[in-house]
Symmetry: C2
Subunit: 230 residues, 2 copies
Amino acid sequence: MTQHTSRHYEQELQALKEKILLLGGKVEEMIASAMKSLLNRDPDLARRVIASDREVDAAELDSDHLCLSLLALRQPAASDLRFIATALKIVTDLERIGDLAVNIAERSIELNEEPPLKPYIDIPRMATAASSMVGRALDAFVRRDPVLAREVLGSDSAVDQLNVQLFRELLTYMIEEPRNVTRALRITFIAKYLERIADHATNIAQMVIFMCEGRDVRHPAAQEGEAEEF
Amino acid sequence: MTQHTSRHYEQELQALKEKILLLGGKVEEMIASAMKSLLNRDPDLARRVIASDREVDAAELDSDHLCLSLLALRQPAASDLRFIATALKIVTDLERIGDLAVNIAERSIELNEEPPLKPYIDIPRMATAASSMVGRALDAFVRRDPVLAREVLGSDSAVDQLNVQLFRELLTYMIEEPRNVTRALRITFIAKYLERIADHATNIAQMVIFMCEGRDVRHPAAQEGEAEEF
């Protein structure tokens, strides 16, 4: 590789990182706005979240194109190859996080059409935790930092616990009073979406650790003698 | 590329296709067994589904390793590059379909501990439809067949409709009788898992069309002037 092409290559890798951080920032913003639309009973904001899904979709395409172009034209070596392969997988997770923020916004619009069931306490906590996991997982990715990625893995159980706790509470509402069922179900769904956002962040963090260490924390049990090291 | 390496390369590509079809067959079998455990009230079968998740995880790793090795050592040209990049994305969807089959098996064990709420009619239909979508999406992938992939896209709305229909029915059960709530919720979750399996199959089919045609059906609106053609 000439010095000139090598500089280009570094610039393209840098551009890939920036695209992914930008996409991550976009979906974090969507989660925050979907949550705000729920708490402030603001259906207009929810509709803006739904509309902004287009930008996420465009960014995913854009990032995939850059990855393919890097793979085809630059023939990257081992560690960059892993980085680009991981980028291909990560943007799919980010796009689906965007879809989940849209789903939250949809339920927020529906909930806004009825009187509030109860004050939201755990849901905003779950949203903050899940969103922070997404941001940290992506930081770990661009910095190739397995220590930060492992921290993200440690946060997942807090979100799961909040979800279980909220589910039990909403179940009580549903059993006590049939008129609560529809609203309680919609809130249950929002909690489920947030749990899935945290799961996507966990998946990203696991892929980052695999990328950095070649060891698979996605499926530790599956590894014994199964897949040869690359 | 010498004739010798070229033959090796073809063999490796063939091995990748076979690995992915095998993984697909495995997750289809898990969906079928999870469903059988629900219908026949067979918790042992459900536990076997849960245990078999390890094999799916190992197969995902194995396929990822082969993709990275093909990218690193074979420097594949445009159309094979797309094929391998798509394989990297697809196995993630397959692994998550395996997780969803595990979730169905978990709910099946819980439902088996209580008397049946109602005969299952729509759930097995959804399972058959979703599982067939997975199989056809993977066939479309290995054959690089966008026509078959488009057929898969057409099947998604049938699964969504069954889910909506079942959700309304279960809502009635919950509102009529508080004792039904827990069981009806678990069945709702199973329907949701099946809908998500169909969504994963849809994602796979969309990626196959993109792979074959370079056009993105994932996000048609997002494409206008956004991402340059690769």
